[in-house]
Amino acid sequence: MRNNRGLISFVLVAVVVLLNLPLPVSMRVKSSARDSVAGYQNVWHLLVNDLSRTFSAFAGAKKHINQKDELFQQVANLEFRIVQLERFEEQNAELRKQLDFRKASKLELVLCEVVSRGGAGGWWQTITLNKGSEDGIEQNRAVVTRVGLVGTTINVAKNSSEVLLLYDSNCQVACRFSRTGSLGILRGAGMTLRGNPEMEMLLSANSPVVNYVRRDQQLIDGDEVVTSGLGGVYPPGLLVGSMKKLSLDAKELYYCVEIDPAEDMRELQYVFVVKEKSK
């Protein structure tokens, strides 16, 4: 009975302490807990995803052999291009030096695998990646694919990081229309229950909307939207999507532009986190 009372008091004190932890300490505690679970998450991911991939690889062995040959060809071409580009880079650096230009910013991509979708609560539209601060990933870094912007890192632990997707209503991106140069703020619009929603939450997202676009701009369907670089989180020029629908906001002061995101987030398996190149 005495033990029981001790345990009750301990848990109650722990809850009070937990609720009153300062934010930096709370973030550190969360990171440690995430790291403890990251291993089990990876095991699950390995069991479920990699096994199914292995079976499908056996099923389509002939196709994969052909693909391998094609990839060899592509690698050879890309290696040749890299040699050319390195030469251009050297030339570029030399010319910049001669013209006394400010050093161009150096960005690097960290390849990460998506290990889970939606977090434990399901209130936010997030994905979890299998890499964290140990690989140089930091909070508030842009997350991209080969096609375009996906979201931003919000919580980074040692071996995992959480990404807030463009679809989430808490995600805001300063962006620009490439053709006209007009600026706006893109905001996620959450998920939809209208029409024919998919079973999984992340597959049923509403199109994000670019707000505060000036009314005197001549925008047309399919206009490309890229990050403007304002605000400092996202590097400029990352493709976000293309214009789908134009309307006026409630006060009829600005345009609200519905965007078709460049990346289809239904099948995200690998993404890149943008980080600054270490010296």
Binding site: L21, S26, Q41, R117, G119, L193, M199, M201, L202
Partner: protein, 172 residues
């Protein structure tokens, strides 16, 4: 041995809760595995063990989502304590008990955490989606709790925490 089983079941349920997707047709609700663990211990064990399970389950849920630390832990402890008040009046081995408490507790938890998060300005859902989320949470709680109860009880029996033909309720 009780704490060993608790640890194992908490890890399994945490991984399952993260990996299972949120369901759009149910307002994005996730299957409440961790809440079900808390309910199992509140209906079958004494208050101290129940609070330890509720705290750990809540802590894990908060850590692995964007919910501020302590919110779920506090609500799980509160719900666990409230459910444990009925421990002497229900048969925890029955299928109906976890189904009922799973649904009700999941619904109450979802409403409470939404109000808390909304008050902090962290989430804001439309009425339709919110309604679907509440219904979904209750429904998933009704499905999940009996499964978690069954598996945890089997694990408890396997390691000898509970005799095979013995009732598990430990009355204070």
């Amino acid at each position: 041995m009780t704490y060993l089983v608790m640890g194992v079941i908490l890890i399994v349920c945490t991984v399952l809760q993260i990996q299972m997707p949120g369901y759009a047709v149910l307002g994005g609700a996730k299957i409440p595995f961790l809440l079900s663990v808390c309910l199992y211990y509140s209906l079958t064990r004494e208050t101290g063990v129940m609070l330890a399970a509720a705290f750990c389950a809540g802590f894990l849920q908060d850590s692995l989502s964007e919910i501020p630390l302590g919110y779920s832990a506090f609500l799980f402890c509160l719900l666990g304590w409230a459910v444990s008040r009925f421990r002497n009046f229900v048969v925890s081995e029955s299928f109906v008990t976890p189904t009922f408490f799973g649904g009700v507790a999941s619904l109450i938890f979802t409403i409470s955490i939404y109000m808390w998060l909304a008050a902090d300005g962290l989430v804001s859902f439309g009425a339709g989606r919110l309604f679907m989320r509440f219904v979904g949470a209750g429904f998933l709680g009704m499905i999940c709790a009996p499964v978690v109860f069954f598996l945890t009880r089997k694990l408890d029996q396997l390691v000898g925490n509970v005799e095979f033909n013995e009732e598990i309720d430990v009355f204070e």
